[in-house]
Amino acid sequence: MKAVCWHGTTDVRVDTVPDPKIINPRDAIIKITSTAICGSDLHLYDGYNPTMKSGDILGHEFMGEVVELGSAVKNVNIGDRVVVPFTISCGSCFFCNRDLWSLCDNSNPNAWMVEKIMGYSPAGLFGYSHMTGGYAGGQAEYARVPFADTGLFKIPDGLTDEQVLFLTDILPTGYMAAENCDIQPGDTVAIWGCGPVGQFGIRSAYMLGAERVIAIDRVPERLKMAKEQSKAEVINYEEVDAGEALKEMTGGRGPDSCMDAVGMEAHGTGLEGFYDEAKQALRLETDRPTALRQAIVACRKGGTVSVPGVYTGFVDKMPLGAFMNKGLTMKTGQTHVHRYFRPLLERIQNGEIDPSYIITHRLKLEEAPHAYEIFKHKKDNCIKVVLKP
């Protein structure tokens, strides 16, 4: 089959590789009909994860049709149209039982790698480096899905791929991030990053009762989408100081909650931005946390900071003094996709949201190298790419 393989920093290629096969009784094989590139794939593309190996198949946002089932999978059938959560979860451990699916104890065969850095390992993920399991991803014609009896969600007839594809990751991720904002009536939510997760964060914050949502970015077409389609007020941080603007826009009190939908490759300005880029380039710091620093400082006293943006390692110069003295709460985590799948599918079915509005590019799987290139550099107004095998 054809698959998008990582071969080194900014080097992805479409290789011909063997088809996946059933390995464990709870596996399924999916013939992929749609797959997307996630902003978090760019962290791998840019070489910031030291546990990637040449030849690894990328991709964790994919859906398709069941073509083969392991002997223990009884709740789906060959031919079913399914969406696959990006987190791999066993469904029977302490964490899965508590609806904390992305913290599954049993899905990461390389848990020891993560334990050395994080103490304990979260769940295995598709196509997201060896520290999260080294599972082959879904930017391919076929994929093997472990624990398929908990990790496949059937799609009702009448919904297109584009309407449901983002249930794999970014729609639940934006939604959980908004839920983590602990939104109360009258609240203002500030969101750093107007990429796909930020856009869905805006929409979800409104769904959960936010009075106002203010989005922060510097890319004109992303700010435009945030304003016109996601209905946020916007701040271009290259034109004004985001913190000052937020203070003025919120009556001098500050946003009630702040969301970092940017993560480890934030673009800073001035000396601070230079500091982080230099340290990251020298591998003295794995992550550049500009957005998170700003979110902590901008948040009102007693507010909540929600972090859907991906971090993998260590950061410098965190304003913990502001965090502690202002009595903030921070909520974060990889998304518990299994928890949000059905409620969000219902919102799609009843027309509350059609997530396909963020798609700017529809390309063939073979065009993946080009797709990564334009997505990374935000060329051609690229916000979200869907690949068709």
Binding site: M1, A3, C5, H7, R13, D15, V17, P18, D19, P20, K21, I23, N24, P25, R26, K53, S54, G55, D56, I57, A72, I88, C90, G91, S92, C93, F94, N97, D105, N106, S107, N108, P109, A111, W112, G124, G133, G134, Y135, A136, R144, P146, F147
Partner: protein, 226 residues
Amino acid sequence: MASTSQDKQNQDESNETGRWASLIGGGAMVLMGLRQRSLRGALTAIAGGTLAYQAATKKGGIQEALGMDKTITVEKTVTINKPAAELYRFWRNLENLPHFMKHLKSVTVISDKRSHWVANAPMGASVEWDADIIEERENEFISWASVEGADVDNSGFVRFKPAPADRGTEVKVVMEYAPPGGAVTAAIAKIFGEEPEQQIGDELRRFKMLMEAGEIATTEGQPKGS
């Protein structure tokens, strides 16, 4: 009446055995309490009482008699979301162990107490030993030790302790083994890994996967680009 030195020794031995029993049954880290004792000696002492006090001290015990001064001890605990009885039953059938202990080729049960172990060594070779169960308490505890003449002298225990509020079972493994040196050392390193803590930890994790999820997560055999 003044106590004799024999009384004193009996007293010490009994205190020590009691301390060990409570250490193994409790929530503390067992190896922190090992001090100068060999694990084998301590396990034997708890099971059989007096005979073992000499053997329980490293200096002058079996270790020194065999010229082994470099024992390796490992302790690992994992909580498994299953009742102790179910986990104990699986483990007590020692022939099940190779399902999750990757380095084991086979375990053959010879009698109620004795079993024969075969482990993979480099270059297709293998190392073998017989082990006896020293003590077992149903659904709670199994301790074992290799018998004389083993390629790898080893001993240890596994303990199943219900976690509070139906949070599953805490499974603790404590092992001690003595690399005999020479040519076999390389084989031992392979068997127990260069980082024995990690190896035993990984085996316990695979046991947990097998018990909770019904299978062991793996990517062996999946496709990749060249």
